[in-house]
Every structure is written in C-alpha cells, then in structure tokens.
Symmetry: C2
C-alpha cells in the first residue's frame, strides 16, 4: 500500500523540528456528549506500521475515551515551531481498549511495549479528574509487566481523511489541502491562506 | 471587578515562557455545523481590559467565524513548552464583527489599532480556503487605514467558564480545575492528573 502524499511533508517537519521534544505534542479536539468542543495535548506516538494512521495513547477512564466512544471523529492541530508550519488532521478516531476486537490487540500490545515505565505507571494511578488522592503511594512508580498492557491502557488511532497544511513562512503564506475521495485516493489543492 | 484566580497563574506562565514567541500560540477547538470537531492555532492577543476575557482575531470569511455563529462555545488548549504546563480554557465565544452591537465596536477598533500592518493586510486578501489566486498583487501589503478596521476584521472573545491547569513537572503531575458557579464566583479544586 502506498502512503498518502502528505506523509513525506510531515516526515520532513518532524525531522527538521526533532531538536524540540514538544514538536511531537499535538492538540486533539473532540466533541463532548453535550455537543461542546474539547481540546487537549497528546503525544504523537508514530504511525501504525505501513499505514497513514496516527498513534496516540489514552486511559479508558479519561473523558476523551468516553467522548470518542460516542463521537468517533477528531481533529488534530499540530504546530511545528522551528519550521513555522501547521497541520490540521481530521479523521476517524478508533479507541483500541482491552475489550476491542482481537485483530487490534497486537497493535495495542506493541504500543504498550514501546512505552517508557514512566508512561506505563500512569494507567494504574487513581481515577483521573477525581479529587486529588493525597497518599503518595497511590501514584506508584511500579508497573507489573512491560509485556502485557494493563486493563486501562488504550491505543488511540486517528485515520485521516483531511489534512490542511499551512506554512507561515513565505509572503503570502502557503496553504494546501489534502483530501481523500470515495476511491480512497488522496487529492491535493493549493488554496488561499 | 476582581480577576479570576487562574489569571495570575497564566500571567506567570506567559512571563516565564516569554522568550518563545510561539508561547502565545494556542489551539482553539470549535464544532462544525455537521457536529464534527475543528481545531486550529490562533494567537493570544491579551485580555480584554480589566476582565478575564481572552482576545483573538479572525476573518469573517473564515470557517471558524461561521462555526462560532452557529455554536458559540470553544475550548482553547495552551501548552507552555518551557514550564511544561497546559491550560485548557473552555467558555463562550463572542464574534465581534463590523455588524456587532455598537457597544462592542470600541474593543474591535482598539484591537485593530494594536495590530501590525502584516496582520492587517490579511483581511483584504482573497477568500481564505478558495483555490489559490496566482496573481501576487492580490496579496497586497498595503492597508488603507490603521485607524478604522476593514469590514472583514473580527475581534474574537473567549469568556472562560472552566480552566483546567496541568503541570507536567512534579511526580506525579499536578492538575487543578477552576470553575465558575452560578454566582459568577470561581472555585478551585486539585484533582488527579
């Protein structure tokens, strides 16, 4: 399967911004059950192998996991400070939990195994968003297994259908839209910024 | 009028991150007419004087201006790289256009007058998102007036009702929620990250 034409453009941006650890931080917008928008920073964890699907992680107990199960669309906003460019990536979100179909579990397990222990432990901490637990030992630094994911751990996938690329450099700025059509082919158009 | 308790926390973050020009760039999530989320980077333009209301600018012809007129809620995600902290600021969005009520025009005019010419000219460029216009002179660098805003220029206000502050530094991370109650008072709670 060939990769989408915007993949090379993102790879170049990642490479040129690689000295900034936070160039892998993106903002993910979802819609709450009451129809209002939500927005938070998540860490880009690479692409699902040989695909255009972006990987993130989340806790099944988080508000976003709940939102995604009700409204499975998201839009990521990704700003690269060094090259001064923005990608807006909209598409379908797929939450891969412990209860998801068997054929998605390999990807979930692989993601878990790639994480640092510091990232893993958070999935067994007290309920996110609840009144702060004051016993430090609740926020353990120990996780039982680096092989088998814990129950709360989810892989979160974003399958893009629209990518809007804006380069602030240049007078005027450059803006391109990549969109997938019904034959799953990408088409590309330069638009006014 | 006293300012909200989270104002001092944001001021401190702005100050500590002031060496990074993009620490004033935030991501604004809105909801599209079809109920799907949208997300893009906007520049924080300071607070409306003596209030907790955040100022941004936008073009009346932009997709977000259209979205906001139909669904007037937004959530800003603001990540400060140097201090490694995030603010999620949700609230009501108010689009102040040339047609808005007279008593909002002073704030709109003041915002226009604070802009650089490079920011102003964009409001008379060709329709954003349309097929790229190839005549360079369409993207003029001249604006007629620095006093009177052009028709397309809008001030965009965000009146916060919820602020979620996450500090990644610390083990575990610190997270606080500020919420406005029916008496317009802010209450504050520390929660699990």
């Amino acid at each position: 399967m060939s990769l989408a034409p915007w993949r090379a453009v993102i790879s170049r941006a990642l490479h040129k911004n690689s000295s900034l650890v936070y160039s892998r931080y993106v903002q993910l917008a979802t819609v709450r059950e009451d129809g209002l928008p939500a927005n938070r920073t998540v860490v880009f964890r690479g692409f699902l192998e040989d695909t255009d699907v972006l990987r993130f992680i989340t806790d099944i107990r988080s508000a976003k996991a709940e939102q995604i199960q009700k409204q499975g669309h998201g839009e990521v906003c990704w700003y690269f400070p060094k090259t001064r460019e923005q990608f807006r990536i909209a598409g379908r979100l797929i939450l891969v939990s412990a209860n998801s179909h068997e054929n998605l579990q390999a990807a979930r397990i692989k993601m878990w195994q790639e994480l640092s222990n510091a990232a893993r432990v958070q999935f067994i901490w007290p309920q996110p968003g609840d009144v702060r637990v004051r016993t430090p030992e609740a926020f353990t630094q120990l996780v039982t297994s680096s092989i088998e994911p814990v129950e709360n751990f989810c892989l979160l996938l974003l399958e893009p259908t629209l990518v809007d690329h804006l380069e602030l450099r240049g007078e005027p700025q450059n803006r391109s839209i990549y969109q997938i059509d019904e034959t799953q082919s990408w088409y590309y158009q330069e638009v006014n910024p």
